[in-house]
Each structure stands twice: as C-alpha cells, then as structure tokens.
C-alpha cells in the first residue's frame, strides 16, 4: 500500500522538478493524442454528420457497424496496423513503424468510431424543425451543415473529449506500434507499463498521476470554453 503514498510524492517531484524523462513522455503523449484527435475529428465529424443527417439504404447496418467498432480492442488495432506498416507490409515504404505518426495513425483508427457515433447521435437528436426552418430561410447546403453542427456543438465537444480520453489512456497501440523507445516513442502509459515491468511500482503510480493531471487540465480548458458560450 505504501506504493500509493510514495507514488503520489514522486508524482509531485516529477511534475515540479521538470524531470527530462517524464517531460519527454508527456510531450510524446500530447503529440500523439493531439495528432490522432485532429485526424479523427477531421474525418469523424463529417462522417458522423452524414450518418446522422441523411437517410440512405444500409444506414442502420452501417450504424450498427460503427457502434460495434466502439469495442475495438487496442491490441487488435495495433496488430492490424503493424501488419500494414511493417517494412514487409504494403505500407512499409512509409517507415511509420516505431514513430510518433505511426502511433497516431493507429490511434486515429481506434477513436474514429467514437467521434462518428457520438456526432451522429448528436445530429439525430436535433429538432427536425431546425432543418425545415433553415430551408425556409433559404440556407444553402453548406450553411445547413454548419448550422446543424453548431447546434450540436456541445455534443460534438463531448465526442472529442471522450475520444481524447481513449487516445491518451491506451497502452496496447503505443507499445506495439511505438515500441516504447526512450526519448522518442515512450508515452506516459508505456512508461507506466515499463516501470511496472521493472518492479518500480511507485514510479508507475507517479506517472499515472501525471497522466490524470494532464487529462484534468484538458477538461478544465473545455469546461471554461463551454461556460463562455
């Protein structure tokens, strides 16, 4: 049990002394999760909008597929992406294995279903009269799409936060695709796995607290954004 106490103290020391190894893991984590979140929002918001707004044949099945993919295990994503970006794989020429963009690519696949599904739900949940009103007011297609998403912005924000939480906390992909290389692809979660593997439990807990602190900061920013609107 004393791991928890000493871990908490170590976390404070790591955070306030600017320990370079911890700092490197923090920046790598932020880099990876920001890249993957940007990419998944760029793809997932339009995708979710289409899925939630339009009626088309096969929509229900597609929706069921997306919701199933919410349960994608990280190690499976890691394995599949590894098979593609290994030097002997079809995308081997891009040299993405054991790099930050490689991890971000795999994480994007992991969190994309979250963004698509939650955005679609948000768009579906809007008042049907909104669309009619917009059309009556003479809005063109682009304006309708933007207004609809604007109305659903809080829900879309929730989608982004949920996806961010999934990306920042996963370990399977970062380990398999990143390789936990010191100063390069070591994220906070792979560092926790490593410290645990080395039997340095207090250090592992310290890093876990650092990760939670990061998540808290991100959420604090979002809460302030929400208040201002």
């Amino acid at each position: 049990m004393d791991y928890l106490g000493s871990g908490f103290l170590r976390a404070l020391v790591l955070l306030f002394s600017g320990d370079p190894e911890t700092f490197s893991a923090v920046t790598t984590t932020l880099e990876v999760s920001s890249l993957s979140i940007l990419a998944s929002l760029a793809l997932g918001i339009p995708g979710g909008f289409i899925l939630g707004y339009f009626e088309f044949p096969g929509k229900k099945q597609l929706r069921a597929l997306v919701d199933t993919l919410l349960a994608l295990p990280t190690v499976v994503v890691g394995l599949v992406v590894y098979a593609f970006i290994s030097r002997r794989g079809p995308l081997g020429e891009m040299a993405l294995l054991f790099t930050v963009p490689g991890i971000a690519l795999a994480q994007t696949i992991l969190v994309l279903p979250i963004v698509v599904s939650l955005t679609a739900t948000a768009v579906e949940g809007l008042d049907r009269r909104l669309r009619l009103t917009l059309i009556t007011l003479g809005a063109n297609a682009r304006q309708i799409a933007l207004q609809t998403l604007l109305e659903a912005r809080f829900a879309v924000l929730t989608a982004a936060v949920t996806a961010y939480g999934r990306a920042i906390s996963e370990v399977g992909i970062s380990m398999m695709i990143g390789g936990n290389i010191k100063w390069h692809t070591r994220t906070i979660t792979t560092a926790v796995a490593l410290e645990t593997g080395k039997g340095e439990f207090a250090m592992g807990i310290a890093l876990g607290i650092v990760l939670l602190t990061l998540a808290l900061l991100v959420n604090a920013v979002l809460v302030t954004l929400r208040r201002k609107q």
Partner: protein, 278 residues
C-alpha cells in the same frame, strides 16, 4: 449537397494523409535494435546507448521484447540488429538466412529462485533433481510462457530432465509476461521460477536487498545464458542498415565496451560477463 459532402470528405482525407506524411526522412544515422527485456530492465542499455552515440555519432534506438518477438521483428525487416539470448534458436535463425554475423558478446547465468524457506527442499540440488521434485510434489512453478530466451531455456531443461512440459498442470503458472513481472508473480504465489541472474539482482535491488525470494539452484553447467548480436540479413531486407549493425557489433566486442559491460553493477554485483572473441 452531394458536391459539398464529397468535397469535405476529400478535404479531410487530404488533411489526414498530410498529418502523417513526412514521417519518413531524417532517419539515416539511427540504428534500430530489438533486444530482450533483461538488457533493458537492468539498465545496461541505458548506459551503453549514450556511449555508442558519443563514440560513433549513431543513435541507438531499441525495443525491449522477448527473444522470440525480437527475432520476429528481424524477420519482418523492422529492425537492423538484434541483441538476444537463445543460442540454439539463433543458429537456426542464421542458417535460415534471416540473420548474419552472429557474434557472442557476453553471458550471465540462469538461476532457480524460490521462497526463502525452500518448501520443496531442493536447495543446492541439481537442475534435474529440482525439476523432478517440482513435478512429483506439485510445487508451484512460474513459467514465462512467452517464447522468450528464458522460456526457451526452461523448456530445454524440462526436456533434459526427461520430463514432459507440465503445460496443463494446476501448479504450473504460465505468466506470459516479462521477467520481473514473473518473479513478482512467483513471490505472490510462493512459487519457484527460472530467471537470468541479472534481472534477479535488479529485483533484489528493488527490495533493497531483502526480497521474499532467494536463489535456490545455481552453478549448473546447463544454466549458462549467452547473449549475442546478430545483424539482420541485408540480402533479405534491403532497408536494413547493415553497415551500422556491423559497427555496433564490432563496438560491443571492443576492449573498451567489454570492460564497460564488466563494470556494470547493481548493489555491487556484476550482472553480465563479457566474452566476445577478438
């Protein structure tokens, strides 16, 4: 409407690929190595990596996995060089054309560790006797079960003792995890396990010299643990940096680094014994 959605899909696809491009370049003076967990967990590579950079200007990056996994990464051309410890498997690997220039670098030994009180009463006995006692009396035994160098060694020892691998026995705990984790599991379950000495010294250091497990069987000739460097075959993997791998292999065998390996100590104990042939 259709036009717009197509446009936004195209735009996001463009953004998406743009984000991940540019990952290629800037990788010339980097040597990628796959190695076993023991060289990393003990901290040896944390010492050697910066020294290699200072001596040659080449940055050494490594992934620490079990030996089986490391060999697989070499097969898939994902790394340039290997530092592993499973001689029989390695020789087959080289014969099959996956690796070249296997060079022995250093060794330590495997030991059987178990609960301090030695409930099985095998302290000081031979490996064969110890294994037979475990099997006969159903003494809990933790196995790596992960195709690592240590796991391969353990399977070999069961075979040498004339016993079947106790795969489905309830007393045989297959952890599927790294060495320190497996030692921790052994400690929690009052079990015996096979470990390399280096990792066990690291474990003792974590417990500040008072661990719940002790060395029970050691010194048997069958327990030698040889580490070797193997370059990934450049004829199979055209992207493999064979020149840098050779540089690393020669550097590891040099007098200076052999001495650095001998000088690497935890709690005043030497973990690895250099034995590269000149």
């Amino acid at each position: 409407m259709k036009k717009i959605t197509l446009f936004s899909i195209a735009l996001s696809l463009f953004l998406f690929t743009g984000l991940f491009a540019g990952a290629a370049g800037a990788a010339d003076q980097v040597l990628m190595m796959a190695t076993t967990t023991s060289t990393d967990n003990t901290g040896l590579l944390n010492d050697l990596g910066p020294m290699f950079k200072a001596d040659t200007g080449v940055e050494l990056k490594w992934v620490a996995v079990g030996t089986g996994n490391a060999l697989e990464l070499g097969k898939n051309c994902d790394v340039d060089v290997l530092l592993v410890h499973a001689p029989a498997t390695e020789l087959k690997y080289v014969a099959d054309g996956y690796g070249v220039d296997r060079r022995e670098i250093m060794f330590n030994d495997f030991i059987f560790v178990g609960p301090k009180g030695d409930p099985a009463g095998v302290k000081g006995k031979s490996v064969n006797e110890a294994l037979k006692t475990f099997a006969a009396r159903k003494i809990p035994f933790a196995s790596r079960g992960d195709n690592s160098g240590t796991h391969k060694m353990e399977l070999q020892l069961w075979k040498a003792a004339g016993l079947p691998v106790p795969d489905k026995e309830t007393w045989y705990i297959q952890t599927g995890q790294g060495m320190i984790n497996t030692i921790n599991i052994a400690a929690e379950r009052d079990a015996y396990t096979l470990t390399d000495r280096g990792t066990f010294i690291k474990y003792e250091a974590n417990w500040k010299g008072e661990p719940p497990l002790a060395i029970i069987v050691e010194g048997d000739a069958a327990l030698k643990n040889q580490y070797s460097v193997i370059a990934v075959n450049p004829a199979r993997c055209n992207k493999a940096k064979y020149d840098l791998a050779t540089k690393f292999s020669e550097w590891m065998a040099s007098a200076k680094i052999q001495k650095a390996i001998a000088d690497f100590k935890l709690m005043g104990k030497q973990l690895f014994f250099p034995n590269a042939k000149k």
